[in-house]
């Protein structure tokens, strides 16, 4: 494999790791809120979180490009903060990936929290655990299969991301050229040998991830939503 291919693989793994960490931090509180709230906004928030599941990635990518551009809301904010605009940067891609994989983090964690039910938390409260303490020492450990599923799905989904990166990235080697856009370039340029090598790697990786999930599920832990 060529140095460019290794560079793209390295970048993809970095992006996937950063996205996964960020999504666990954002997704866990959001999932807890969705699992426990009685707010009338619950349905709307839930639908908004699920949007990336059904929207074409190019739509997401296009809106992100416009929003983060010099006239967009996000773009104006980042410019005011002296950060410049985010498209064509790793940070820009990271934000795009977080939005794109949000449901893959929130939904499994939310289902895990819902499966616990109210009782363990009530018991913790009667034992005088403060809400945050109960959350950390009761809810989180009980929901670990959901957290694990979310971690695996977010990582894999980011590795397989294409449309958003294509719209936002600018295909810059080492900064925004990931494996999927690299494959696309090879195919369009009719360099089928290089495209095959990377594609086969991608298929192998994705299969291994899904196999791992299925094996965990067979062992009886409820990890899939």
């Amino acid at each position: 494999m060529s140095p460019e291919a290794w560079q793209a693989i390295g970048l993809t793994l970095r992006l996937a790791a950063a996205t996964t960490v960020a999504l666990l931090l954002i997704g866990t509180p959001l999932a807890w809120w969705l699992a426990t709230t009685r707010s009338r906004w619950r349905a709307a928030v839930s639908a908004a979180v699920a949007l990336p599941l059904v929207l074409p990635p190019t739509v997401l990518g296009f809106y992100l490009l416009v929003a983060m551009g010099p006239d967009g809301l996000v773009g104006r904010l980042t410019q005011a903060l002296g950060l410049g605009t985010l498209p064509f940067t790793f940070t820009g891609l990271l934000i795009g990936s977080i939005v794109f994989s949000l449901p893959f983090a929130v939904q499994p964690i939310q289902h895990a929290f819902e499966a616990i039910g109210e009782r363990p938390m009530e018991v913790a409260a009667t034992l005088r655990a403060r809400p945050l303490d109960a959350f950390v020492s009761v809810a989180l450990p009980l929901a670990w299969p959901g957290l694990l599923t979310a971690t695996i799905l977010c990582f894999a989904h980011t590795v397989g991301e294409f449309g958003v990166v294509l719209m936002l990235g600018g295909n810059i080697p080492g900064a925004t050229r990931v494996v999927s856009t690299q494959i696309y370039g090879h195919v369009e340029a009719m360099e089928y040998a290089q495209a095959h090598a990377l594609s086969a790697l991608m298929v192998g990786f994705s299969f291994a991830v899904l196999l791992a999930l299925a094996l965990m599920r067979r062992r009886g832990t409820r990890v899939m939503p």
Partner: protein, 274 residues
């Protein structure tokens, strides 16, 4: 109206029934969509000529198709994509009768492979490259801005995939700016994306097709330097009759129409040289 407790059972039933009914309705949706799509497909079956068009030629093609339909009574069904994708589709047996490519290489290759009718290839348009900014005054008439430090990012189409991208790289090379500007390039997968990066302001400058920023013979907005044709190899866009269009009257008529004065005028209005 507030509910009293004993109202609930009586009230819940119709709601449940309604829910069930809505549920069944949702199940029927894909069926309805399919039926509608089938109807729509039937309506387009009278189409006369199916033509694959390079994405950069989409705007002029729409005008040309209208004029052709008026003049000939035939109907045009056009599919737009990058030339690389169109090639892959044609090689896999796509039912296109005519190809209007963004280069000369692809029609030549299709002819060599026997997928196009030999002797039918001709240049229908020659593309011109423009350095464009969406801001007035963003680009001067000589392109000197390229040597200034105002170029934080420069959008181009992927030189490996798009003829306009390859031409843009030639311009940078001939101006001796390749090393200086390569780190600031943002690369669109097509000339359409290079335009998009520039049009959204994410890149202050971009090498685009003149046809993307021209309207009725004038610059639609922003400022541009029309790159002198000597600075890059000619961007020849060739058309060819595909095997599926062999002896097909409407397909041959469309190719003939592309060389007519009317079509040439339209093509020039969009910033191409016919």
């Amino acid at each position: 109206m507030p509910l009293r407790p004993h109202d609930r059972p009586r009230h819940a039933k119709p709601v449940a029934r309604l829910r069930r009914r809505v549920g069944l309705g949702v199940l029927a949706l894909p069926l309805l969509a399919w039926a509608a799509a089938a109807g729509a497909a039937q309506a387009t079956q009278g189409a006369d000529v199916t033509v694959a068009v390079a994405a950069n030629f989409a705007a002029p093609m729409k005008r040309i198709a209208q004029a052709f339909e008026r003049a000939s009574g035939h109907r045009v069904v056009a599919a737009y994509a990058s030339t690389g994708k169109l090639y892959a589709q044609i090689a896999q047996g796509a039912p296109f009768q005519v190809l209007l490519a963004a280069d000369a290489k692809t029609p030549e290759r299709l002819q060599a492979e026997g997928r196009a009718v030999s002797g039918t290839r001709f240049t229908y348009a020659t593309g011109r490259l423009a350095l464009w900014s969406r801001q007035t005054g963003g680009v001067d008439a000589q392109g000197a801005v390229l040597r200034s430090d105002r170029v934080s990012r420069l959008a181009i189409a992927d030189p490996k995939l798009a003829p306009y991208g390859a031409a843009a790289m030639q311009v940078l090379q001939r101006l001796g700016l390749e090393t200086a500007l390569t780190p600031r390039l943002v690369i669109g997968e097509s000339i359409a994306q290079a335009w998009q990066f520039t049009a959204t302001g994410n890149a202050p400058l971009g090498f685009v097709a003149l046809s993307q920023v021209m309207q009725d013979g004038a610059l639609a907005r922003g400022s541009a330097w029309v790159v002198p044709a000597e600075l890059h190899d000619a961007i020849r866009q060739d058309a060819v009759l595909l095997r599926a269009g062999k002896d097909h009257e409407a397909a041959i008529a469309l190719l003939r129409f592309l060389r007519s004065d009317e079509a040439r005028r339209l093509i020039r209005d969009f910033g191409y040289e016919p």
